[in-house]
């Protein structure tokens, strides 16, 4: 086993940690500009993070060790996700397969950690947020599985690096009906998984409409820094995955410094494009009523299912 894929995974994690606050900064800045405001600049989330890391967390009386552990588990799962998903280079790790089941399990570990964090604070809103989060997770995970399964049929492998590499080498498969359906389904569940509009409003102050925010209401200081960084990483990694599936060009095929640097720059470009697009779509959109969310997610599941059917019919 060579060390190259491990090195590339390390590069991916570093690049993702650097880019994640910038992605959030770009979405907030784009939103501010479209609303006629000046905005705090794309570096503001990084400033927030730096400040929060320096603050000592204040934990509610009677909380269990879960409050201390959950943010770290969540961050670890997000970092692992950044290492597994082909962002900069499409090299499969020999140690842990970048398999769709592994990726979904890592996502789920983070989801469970944050749901337990919400429950542990003991406030009513935390429990409500956790309950909603698990409902959405239960609807999202099958769609992720089925959508990636549809993409894996023409490639003959469920490893994400191989799927991205196959799409890069055969661009015709990007525009195939199965490919388009699967990516659209994946894009909808990415929005649900990362708590963006129309499923959840990341900037809401109304506790009754919250999902992600409700779970972290009791989290403060350094704990909040880890939770924030973890959810920003999750958004960046999943956006990067959608970006690499749609535009697989620039993804490095080897661990040489040249292609990896090109891959990192290409990733930054794709993420910037998707972040601006995401913010623009969000400005024009209202949050869905909570009971309509399952309908949307069921719709995305149907798209993923159709993608599987189409890929069997074509292949």
């Amino acid at each position: 086993m060579s060390a190259a894929p491990l090195l590339v995974a390390l590069v991916q994690v570093t690049v993702a940690v650097v880019l994640a606050p910038l992605v959030i900064g770009v979405t907030r800045q784009t939103r501010a500009r479209l609303e006629g405001r000046v905005g705090p600049g794309v570096l503001q989330p990084a400033r927030d993070l730096r400040k929060l890391i320096g603050k000592t967390p204040l934990r509610a009386a009677g909380t269990s060790p879960m409050t201390v552990v959950a943010p770290v588990v969540l961050l670890t799962s997000s970092l692992l996700l950044a290492a597994l998903v082909p962002l900069v280079a499409a090299l499969p790790l020999a140690l842990v397969p970048g398999d769709l089941f592994v990726v979904v399990s890592v996502l789920l570990v983070g989801t469970v950690a944050i749901a337990l964090l919400g429950l542990d604070g003991g406030s009513a809103f935390g429990g409500m947020g956790s309950s909603r989060h698990m409902t959405i997770a239960a609807l999202v995970e099958p769609t992720v599985l089925v959508a990636v399964y549809a993409l894996s049929i023409p490639v003959g492998s469920s490893a994400l690096p191989l799927i991205v590499a196959a799409r890069r080498d055969h661009p015709a498969s990007i525009a195939s009906p199965a490919g388009v359906l699967a990516v659209v389904a994946l894009a909808i569940v990415v929005l649900a998984e990362t708590g963006r509009l129309p499923i959840d409003n990341p900037s809401t102050h109304l506790e009754l409409t919250m999902i992600h925010e409700a779970m972290v209401l009791e989290t403060s200081g350094r704990d909040l820094a880890w939770v924030d960084l973890a959810s920003w990483l999750r958004l960046s990694v999943l956006l990067g995955l959608v970006g690499n599936l749609l535009l697989p060009w620039g993804v490095a095929g080897s661990a040489a410094p040249g292609p990896v640097l090109l891959g990192a720059l290409a990733l930054a470009g794709k993420l910037a494009l998707l972040a601006v697009l995401l913010a623009t779509v969000e400005v024009a959109m209202a949050k869905l009523r909570l009971f309509r969310v399952p309908e949307l997610l069921a719709g995305s599941f149907v798209l993923a299912f159709l993608a599987v059917t189409a890929s069997y019919l074509v292949a």
Binding site: R37, G39, P40, R47, D48, K55, L217, L224, A284
Partner: protein, 183 residues
């Protein structure tokens, strides 16, 4: 409104925010909270300067209405609205005191809000700044001596910064927030 109408509206409106006024000058340390040069807000105690250094240009604000007539709330909404855009200086309203660095209190403290106010300040992690906004929060204003009033904010929790006015101008609230973010 259709998407095309929305796009046209955004294009026509452009930037609403007014140009940023110069950064508020740091007055000499040790000036009391209520003795600002412009009467709007003081530099605050040296404690505010110490907090500012730890915040690195980012301040999350938790607003507590301790018994306000909602006049201050309208001005506060304007301060965070598109025209004054307090967010460009690094201040942001948040939903929980656990996330906050600044507890912004408006209104006289009424009997029912005295304990929640104390708890909210206690739930805010250090380093924190308590800001009293409006005449009522500073010295009870026109409600002084009323039957349901416990006192001004400073009577219950230590106040680091205050903004005068009934209601205070959004620009003055922004100046006070900029003293915390230092931008």
């Amino acid at each position: 409104m259709s998407l095309a109408d929305l796009a046209r509206l955004i294009g026509r409106t452009g930037r609403i925010a007014e140009p940023a006024p110069p950064r508020p000058a740091a007055s000499p340390a040790g000036v009391g909270p209520d003795e600002g040069v412009d009467g709007s807000s003081g530099e605050g105690s040296p404690a505010v300067a110490a907090v500012r250094r730890e915040l690195h240009g980012s301040a999350q604000v938790r607003h507590v209405d301790a018994g306000s007539c909602n006049g201050c709330e309208i001005e506060l909404a304007a301060a965070f609205g598109p025209v004054y855009d307090a967010e460009r200086y690094g201040a942001r309203l948040v939903a929980s005191p656990r996330h906050a660095d600044v507890v912004l209190v408006t209104g006289v403290v009424t009997r029912n809000m005295a304990e929640p106010l104390r708890l909210t300040v206690a739930a805010t992690p250090q380093p924190r700044v308590v800001m009293a906004v409006g005449d009522c929060a500073r010295d009870c204003g026109m409600f002084r001596g009323a039957y349901g009033v416990v006192g001004a904010v400073g009577d219950l929790v230590p106040v680091d910064l205050s903004v005068a006015g009934c209601p205070p101008a959004p620009a003055d609230i922004v100046v006070a927030l900029r003293r915390v973010t230092g931008r």
